[in-house]
């Protein structure tokens, strides 16, 4: 029994060592050769935000009129950026690290985990920028900020779940890369980031759709984070839009299910990765 415990401890210890080294290496190499380096992590979402702000908020008037909408948009882009970057990069990660997997034996989920963790670091930097900007953009910081980490963990779980599934599928079917690109785009528009959810709610033809949109785990998590971090007053959550509390639990459960399926699928197929690659 004690021996088994020690063995498990040793196994995870090894996984942690590799995990740390890979995250470190990835991060070091990410902005290799660029002048601004890590600053890009913060600069890129800011620039994207600027574009969206001008196009959607100023020209197309996609706004609910609340003072926090711009900062909420910035926060949303950062969070979505994390999700889309982490899933797309993880999808390629197993194949990209193929030379490694074919020559060293190490728990290969580390490859996916370290890639998502790399995006997580960027997200951390972005959120710091968001919080900083929030002071000048009417953000209402309350005790609810304490709830944000839970939502971020949830978002990470969903991301990791998708990442594991995609990475596994990409080993066998490279077509998934094209498909996922389209799915990501669709999901992006299905998530109330560039438009306020109230726009859907107030549309007499599509008001029913608002509830559906909020039930996707990514929408729910992103809205929860914005609600708790920036403005409990102006940013609605799934609980405000869907009134059946049981139905409201769906996105949370779905997050757990996605992660579970991801782990299961990955475990089933990962033993053969070295042979297939």
């Amino acid at each position: 029994m004690k021996q088994m415990f020690e063995r498990i401890q040793k196994k995870y210890h090894y996984a942690m060592v590799v995990f740390k080294e890979l995250v470190k290496t990835d991060f070091k190499l990410r902005y290799q050769g660029s002048f601004l380096g890590v600053v890009w992590s913060a600069l890129k979402p800011l620039m994207l935000f600027a574009v969206m702000y001008v196009v959607f908020v100023k020209f197309l008037k996609f706004t609910d009129g609340t003072p926090t909408f711009p900062i909420s948009l910035l926060c949303g882009t950062s969070l979505w950026g994390f999700f889309s970057e982490a899933t797309s990069m993880s999808m390629h990660s197993i194949v990209d690290r193929g030379d490694l997997l074919r020559k060293v034996h190490f728990p290969n989920y580390i490859v996916v985990a370290s890639t998502t963790m790399g995006s997580m670091i960027s997200l951390g930097i972005n959120l710091a920028v968001v919080i900083l900007f929030g002071f000048f953009a009417h953000a209402q910081y309350t005790w609810r900020i304490l709830l944000v980490p839970f939502s971020i963990i949830q978002l990470y779980a969903v991301t990791l779940g998708f990442a594991l599934i995609l990475a596994t599928m990409f080993v066998y079917f490279r077509d998934i890369a094209q498909i996922w690109e389209v799915v990501l785009q669709a999901l992006f528009y299905a998530t109330p980031i560039i438009y306020p959810i109230s726009m859907v709610q107030n549309n007499p033809e599509f008001s029913w759709a608002a509830g559906f949109l909020m039930l996707s785990p990514t929408s729910q998590a992103i809205m929860d984070i914005r609600h708790n971090l920036l403005s409990p007053q102006y940013v609605p959550t799934v609980w405000d839009i869907v009134h059946n509390p049981l139905v409201c639990l769906i996105p949370y459960l779905l997050s757990a299910v996605i992660l579970g399926v991801g782990i299961m699928v990955f475990r089933k197929y990962s033993a053969k990765f070295a042979e297939v690659l």
Partner: protein, 416 residues
């Protein structure tokens, strides 16, 4: 007596690696199925899209602590697959692999080396992938750098290293890694001569260390003979020889010679090259072991079919390594009866030093105009000839053909 004692001692050592009945096959795609379209088409057509290739059939062996264990075999024999199974990279279809202790495996040198990182960072990354924590690498870092002789370059990016320097660094990580079992695949013979000598010293030292176990996959028979104490030879996914390294190494040499011959196989006619309607069967086959010692005569059979009269067989003995024909039986010395027969032949070997030889036969009939001469009407092609090796512990200097016991130069006297 001494060898018996060591043999007894060996039995007490714990088994650190046990491979039991391992089998592995790969599915090779007949049509590339890495796309949804192909997968769908194959599925609709009911094509599986794969052919099964058995790489390892039934491999069992044990490695004990302190062994320097060699795995040899030709390209494609399955030895790298076996190594990957031992290392845990592949999962065997059948059988089990049990490892006791920390196994550090080098399928390739410098796995995970990144040209954009410095030498130091690469050592840590490489080390982590091999299962070492930062502290453990800290402890062996100086050793690694010393061994690689790259002290001044460790903070340079790897892309600025020469290829020799990269290999040296990778190799140093490999052999300085403090594992219990070291698995090395074809990594000898890197670097310049001085570095080679260093590696040689290292291996000699490891060989004496009874705590360290090394498993070495190699083509170099010199390395096997020099370092290993045990070895296995793999062919077509089976172990065809195991145990004493010299025996295995010699067997491997023979395997390779045999393959050399097969390469020159002619197109399929009714008769193989060298044979024809008049002599449809003519081959030389061994009776003795094809790895022979000097003291016993070498026995072999000649099978032939010839229905005319007055047939002769001539046998030439080729020296494969040194070249030349040390012996030829002569055109008219072996007169043979007509019909389908097998001749039992014997030949002494005590003259020879170690070497590889080939017996080639020719079938002859008398020349009509010149009585002394004969005309060749058939000969044994590479498949029908016989290859054997002489290996005798009493032979020392293998570059010469004749050995000391049969051939000796003596001083007869001085001029004054």
């Amino acid at each position: 007596m001494a060898s018996k004692e060591t043999a007894k001692k060996e039995d007490d050592r714990p088994v650190v690696l046990s491979v039991q009945h391992v089998a592995k096959s790969f599915r090779l795609p007949t049509e590339q199925a890495t796309g949804l379209k192909m997968a769908f088409l194959n599925w609709t057509k009911g094509v599986s899209g794969f052919t099964e290739q058995k790489v390892l059939r039934d491999i069992s062996f044990e490695v004990k602590q302190g062994d320097f264990f060699g795995i040899v075999g030709r390209n494609g024999s399955g030895k790298s697959t076996l190594l990957k199974i031992i290392s845990g990279i592949y999962v065997p279809d059948k059988g089990t692999v049990t490892v006791n202790g920390k196994l550090v495996s080098f399928i390739e040198l410098g796995v995970g080396f990144n040209p954009e990182l410095t030498g130091r960072e690469n050592v840590y990354l490489n080390g982590a992938l091999l299962g070492f924590t930062r502290e453990e690498i800290d402890a062996m870092y100086d050793d690694i750098v010393d061994f690689a002789e790259l002290g001044d370059f460790m903070d340079q990016k790897l892309k600025n290293y020469s290829s020799g320097m990269q290999v040296r660094l990778a190799f140093s990580v490999a052999i300085k890694a403090q594992g219990d079992i070291l698995v090395l695949d074809e990594v000898l013979a890197v670097g310049d001569e001085a570095f080679q000598r260093k590696c040689d010293n290292f291996f000699t030292k490891v060989k004496k260390d009874s705590k360290k176990t090394v498993i070495l996959v190699t083509h170099s028979m010199d390395a096997v003979k020099r370092y290993c104490n045990n070895a296995i030879l793999i062919k077509d996914g089976m172990i065809i020889a195991s145990g004493d390294k010299d025996k295995v190494a010699d067997q491997y040499t023979l395997e390779n010679i045999r393959v050399d011959q097969k390469h020159s196989k002619p197109k399929k006619n009714e008769h193989p090259e060298g044979l024809n309607d008049r002599v449809p069967v003519f081959r030389i086959t061994p009776v003795s072991q094809t790895v022979a010692n000097c003291s016993d005569p070498f026995l072999f059979d000649i099978e032939y079919q010839y229905d005319g009269d007055d047939g002769y067989i001539a046998i030439a003995m080729n020296d494969i390594k040194r070249g030349g024909i040390p012996y030829d039986s002569g055109q008219k010395n072996l007169h043979v009866k007509a019909g389908h027969h097998v001749l039992h032949m014997s030949m002494p070997l005590k003259l020879f030093n170690n070497g590889e030889f080939r017996l080639v036969g020719s079938f002859r009939i008398p020349n009509k105009t010149d009585e002394k001469r004969t005309d060749m009407i058939a000969y044994t092609n590479d498949d029908n000839s016989l290859v054997f090796a002489v290996r005798d512990p009493s032979n020392t200097r293998d570059y010469a053909l004749l050995n000391d016991s049969e051939m000796k130069m003596t001083i007869q006297g001085y001029d004054k």
